[in-house]
Symmetry: C2
Subunit: 170 residues, 2 copies
């Protein structure tokens, strides 16, 4: 069993909600590029490209596009993949667990100056899902910066979009 | 199955040798703190402390000590653990997959300015072991810096020490 870091309110941001979507559709929305592109980035931003190599060490790539058309590529690496239960990926590593290129201060995201690891934890509750998305940071400054960028609003809005997409594939 | 990065001679350093040690003893030497302390750092340096939480996401901590007594703590995170076959860990993440604290240029090692991921690949050959240790870097500069620091000599000398230790536990 993988060892996740203990929750630390100084270092972690969490979105927790029980949603009216069966767990297998939440998983499908997170792991199917054509679906993820429809919900991952709060409008009017878009996710215009996505690559998912769904295994530990596999690539998670997205390209986000701003309303004025600027593109922002991101790359991360999956660390844990437990279907319908747990998906973990980090911006601190690239595909195949390789550290990211560039000076060591580089991150996998074009828009952030810090790294984070996301743990998505799903629990089936009949046709509903307890949805917990945790973003882990290395220090309080990075956590605060992520919070100030609108983590709660952004991830919440994306989750609303995920729910809307899930209804189309139910 | 985990997805390892493809070997890249511009980015990877490799120590490959077939040694007269059974694979289970090589694994034991890499995964038992009291044994690892005896071989991991080429003399006259020493590894004076070691913590091994042997599972994906688990901590790999060492404290190296220079001949004049200065201590250098290092921390990393295991990514893949396949007994007697494959051990993968990175300096780019701390325990529980959490990014490391400090500015994003921080690494898990007190002595290096870049991150690396190590993949140890073991293949049994009767009572011998084909031993492949690969250090993966994010760019050629980091790889060259690691090479210039004496990767080949250092890891080779440590492997000689591992062999000597293994004979004491055979």
């Amino acid at each position: 069993m993988a060892s996740m870091a203990t929750f630390d309110p100084q270092l972690d941001l969490v979105l927790e909600r029980t949603i009216d979507v069966p767990v297998h559709l939440v998983w499908k929305a997170w792991t199917t590029p054509e679906l993820l592109k429809k919900w991952f980035t709060p409008a009017p931003w878009q996710t215009v490209d996505c690559e998912i190599d769904l295994r530990p060490g596999g690539a998670f790539r997205t390209v986000m596009q701003s309303p004025d058309g600027a593109k922002f590529p991101n790359v991360g690496c999956y660390l844990a993949v437990v279907p319908n239960q747990n998906l973990v990926w980090t911006s601190a590593l690239g595909p195949g667990y390789r550290p990211l290129p560039g000076p060591t201060e580089s991150t996998g995201t074009a828009t952030l100056s810090f790294n984070f690891t996301v743990s998505l934890e799903l629990t089936a509750d009949g046709n509903r899902t307890k949805y917990v998305a945790r973003a882990m940071h290395g220090d309080a400054a990075a956590c605060q910066q992520h919070a100030a960028m609108g983590f709660a609003e952004g991830w919440g809005a994306a989750l609303d979009q995920l729910i809307a997409v899930a209804t189309t594939i139910a």
